[in-house]
């Protein structure tokens, strides 16, 4: 660790392709970049250790995106129809189709590498959890794909928190690398690259979690998902889409165990406290709110949330998932526990501690706090170019998955408009982005100069919270209360409170309005102002400080988009109380935004939705 007051050591890394984030999308990009770019220098920068980084740190129990084209189970068009439906009409269908047609080859690679996939001994086919999901023994899902990554790239730089992208010296709309710092030794990292793929995470802890004390770590998306995917891009001026499309998930209460296997594979049902099914009885009121979307099959994820919320608000909760009716054999009991031991171990801990025997008693379900991400049943993220053979001109400006910034690509949670990617689809999108990035590199082989003043400016900025603390800390005796210093955890609590109360979090029953959003933006501006007084006692706090900065950028984009879309497109994810209905006539379009780094101004506007077929 660098001594207080000492200048941090600088490491300069020159490469052709820089991949930021070694999660699912980043690992897919690493593998594919090496296949097509044998002679290129490919480098991964990752804030943790790739064997257990990102959303799949614990493992998973299912691959949620697999077509099964070889058995003619599904074709890519079927998947596009499903996603179109689930997103209430709005997704980039060219991107969705592109993932669907390639995702099977990703899953077949995983199987060859040694990922245990449940197979039916009679038919030889993978065991389906649902129409799109297959079951896996996925405890080591992440270490397995990390092994392929280590064999693919030249260097993996771990424990590097990437804080900013670097613009080219002569063109602010061309990426030239990234900067960050080592959380271990406090050194400053400058990555100079000719192309960059951002595969950093979506975001938890934008909204106040339901569990606020020690249990704040038990968010559904991991606490280390800090929205870097969005913050890095926004500050480079990249166009963003669907940032208002944030995710609320139905989960087991407290432990946040996912419900997929229980509903789809084990066929458990959910009822209100009186044991009644409530979805059909609430249909008439739903039709009034959303029109024909109420009868879409399967019912869109947000609408199922909506019905559950209404039932709870009507005093008929808690909602119960009847695990006790389906765990009738030891095999099923084992499947039920494995589902959580492989991906949400905290749920098993919750059952053990609360004395819940799922084969004897039902479990409570609850709606989570909102998350901002692009790979699940939502699609916030960057506006990217689509594949060459099928995207229309307005969705295509050259290279697949390139953002509106030259040389800057995205994949996984980073890319907006293409929902339902999950682990396999995010990996696939990383592969797509990398193949395109290699093509970009062949067309643009020259090094991209950067301005020394830019690099120096970032260096000062990155370490400012350490220096601020060194100067201000001694002015006050021990403790955490200081008139001139904001600590990262204090700033995070403030951010979560603003978003919860003004941006439609759990305490507001996901509801917001123009007046609330405008006030919320005012409070965010004050928090942004206070960020210049951020204090970090050590490198761990410095990482938390930059994570807070990235969350703040993400939060601002969410509020601005939510303010712009004057309708309630996704009831159950959020409500504009002043515009409570789906309004296809005005709003069946994408809400996009850009931030101009030079002026600090945001523009929010619409882009047309085009059906692929």
């Amino acid at each position: 660790m660098s001594e207080p007051g000492a200048e941090p050591v600088t490491h300069e890394v020159d490469c052709d392709l820089l991949i930021i984030g070694g999660g699912f999308a980043g690992c897919g990009a690493a593998f594919e970049a090496r296949y097509w770019g044998r002679d290129l220098k490919v480098v991964v920068a990752e804030k943790a250790a790739i064997e257990r980084s990102g959303a799949v740190a614990q493992g998973l129990s299912a691959i949620n995106c697999y077509m099964g084209m070889r058995w003619n189970e599904n074709q890519p068009e079927d998947f596009v129809r499903y996603v179109r439906n689930d997103l209430m009409g709005l997704s980039r269908e060219d991107l969705v189709y592109d993932i669907a047609r390639h995702v099977d080859s990703t899953v077949h690679l995983f199987e060859e590498w040694g990922l245990p996939i449940f197979t039916d001994p009679q038919t030889g086919r993978y065991v389906r959890e649902g129409r799109w999901q297959i079951m896996i023994h996925g405890e080591s899902y992440k270490p397995i794909i990390a092994e392929a990554t280590r064999k693919s790239v030249d260097e993996v730089h771990e424990r590097i928190m990437v804080t900013h992208l670097l613009p080219a010296a002569d063109d602010p709309h061309r990426v030239a690398g990234a900067v960050g710092f080592s959380v271990r030794d406090g050194s400053f990292y400058v990555f100079r690259a000719k192309a960059v793929i951002v595969a950093a995470s979506g975001a938890s802890h934008i909204y106040r979690p339901r569990s606020a004390g020690e249990g704040a770590g038990r968010t559904w998306y991991p606490p280390w998902a800090s929205g870097s995917a969005y913050a890095l891009l926004i500050q480079m001026g990249a166009e963003m889409t669907q940032m208002e499309n944030r995710l609320v998930v139905t989960r087991f209460k407290d432990g946040y165990g996912p419900v997929g296997a229980w509903f789809l594979l084990l066929k458990a049902i959910a009822t209100n406290a009186a044991g009644e099914s409530y979805e059909t009885s609430r249909l008439p009121e739903l039709r009034e709110r959303v029109g024909a979307y109420a009868d879409a099959k399967p019912m869109p994820t947000c609408l199922r949330n909506h019905l559950m919320l209404q039932e709870i608000l009507a005093g008929r909760g808690p909602i119960l998932l009847h695990t006790e009716r389906v765990l009738d054999t030891p095999e099923k009991e084992s499947i039920g526990w494995e589902d959580f031991l492989n991906m949400t171990i905290g749920q098993a801990v919750t059952w053990a501690s609360q004395g819940i025997e799922p084969k004897s008693v039902p479990s409570e379900l609850i709606l989570s706090e909102p998350y901002v991400m692009g790979s699940h049943a939502v699609c916030a993220g960057a506006w990217t170019s689509g594949p060459g053979d099928l995207s229309e001109a307005e969705y295509r400006w050259g290279y697949n998955r390139m953002t509106t910034v030259a040389g800057l690509f995205g994949a996984g949670d980073t890319v907006g408009g293409s929902a339902h990617k999950f682990s396999s689809g995010s990996y696939t999108e990383g592969r797509l982005a990398a193949k395109a990035a290699v093509a970009f590199l062949r067309d643009h082989p020259d090094p991209v100069p950067v301005r020394a003043a830019d690099v120096e400016g970032f260096r000062r900025k990155i370490f400012a919270p350490r220096e601020h603390w060194e100067v201000e800390g001694p002015q006050v005796t021990a403790g955490t209360v200081h008139p001139e210093v904001l600590f990262p955890d204090q700033g995070l609590t403030r951010l979560e409170k603003i978003m919860d109360e003004y941006g439609g979090g759990v305490s507001a029953n996901y509801s917001t309005s123009r007046n609330l959003l405008e006030r919320g933006l005012g409070h965010l501006a004050a928090l942004r102002h206070d960020m210049s007084r951020l204090g970090a006692r050590d490198l761990h706090q410095l990482q938390r400080g930059w994570e807070l900065d990235h969350r703040l950028w993400t939060a601002e984009a969410v509020l601005r988009h939510t303010l712009f879309r004057e309708e309630t497109r996704w009831p159950g994810y959020y409500y504009r109380a002043d515009f409570p209905h789906v309004d296809d006539a005005r709003w069946k379009c994408f809400v996009n935004s850009t931030y101009a780094p030079a002026t600090g101004e945001w523009q929010v506007f619409t882009r047309p939705y085009r059906a692929l077929f």
Partner: protein, 148 residues
């Protein structure tokens, strides 16, 4: 406090420090042993628990909603993971699941084999396609004329 470390077992080897995705397992400079510096940012992901060679790390459920008197503990070997669960009332459960079907280190690197052709580079196929799709050709759709 989600993870905690047994004093008599920890050797200070730093494996947990290396692996924790949240950067919250640190070594206490006075004791030379690991501890969780920020329990409210612990996901109970068990990455550190699985990685510790001394089985020194355990998890006590989040104090806000998990009553005391339980334990969930894994033992991970190269091909399987065994879980021992102790419920609040003392009941025990054990489960074992496979984790990998091939030896660690056996993955074929993407650069093994011939370089892709120029034609493949400019097309839509990804590495090892169409073979790994297990269908004859990559699906596509006729491009629709650009709508004004």
């Amino acid at each position: 406090m989600p993870t905690f470390v047994r004093t008599d077992k920890c050797k200070g080897c730093m494996e947990c420090v290396r692996i924790c995705p949240s950067d919250i397992m640190h070594i206490d400079p006075e004791q030379g042993r690991a501890y969780n510096i920020e329990p409210a940012m612990c996901w109970e992901c068990f990455a550190c628990v699985k990685a510790c060679p001394e089985a020194a790390i355990e998890v006590r459920g989040y104090a806000d909603f998990a009553p005391l008197g339980h334990s969930v503990q894994p033992t991970r070997t190269p091909d399987k993971i065994e879980w021992k669960i102790r419920m609040r009332n003392g009941d025990q459960k054990e489960f074992t699941f496979p984790i990998r079907t091939t030896p660690w280190g056996s993955i074929r690197a993407p650069q093994e084999g011939a370089s892709p052709s120029a034609e493949a580079r400019s097309g839509e196929l990804l590495s090892f396609e169409p073979d790994y799709l297990a269908v004859e050709a990559l699906p596509t759709l006729p491009r629709r004329p650009t709508t004004a």
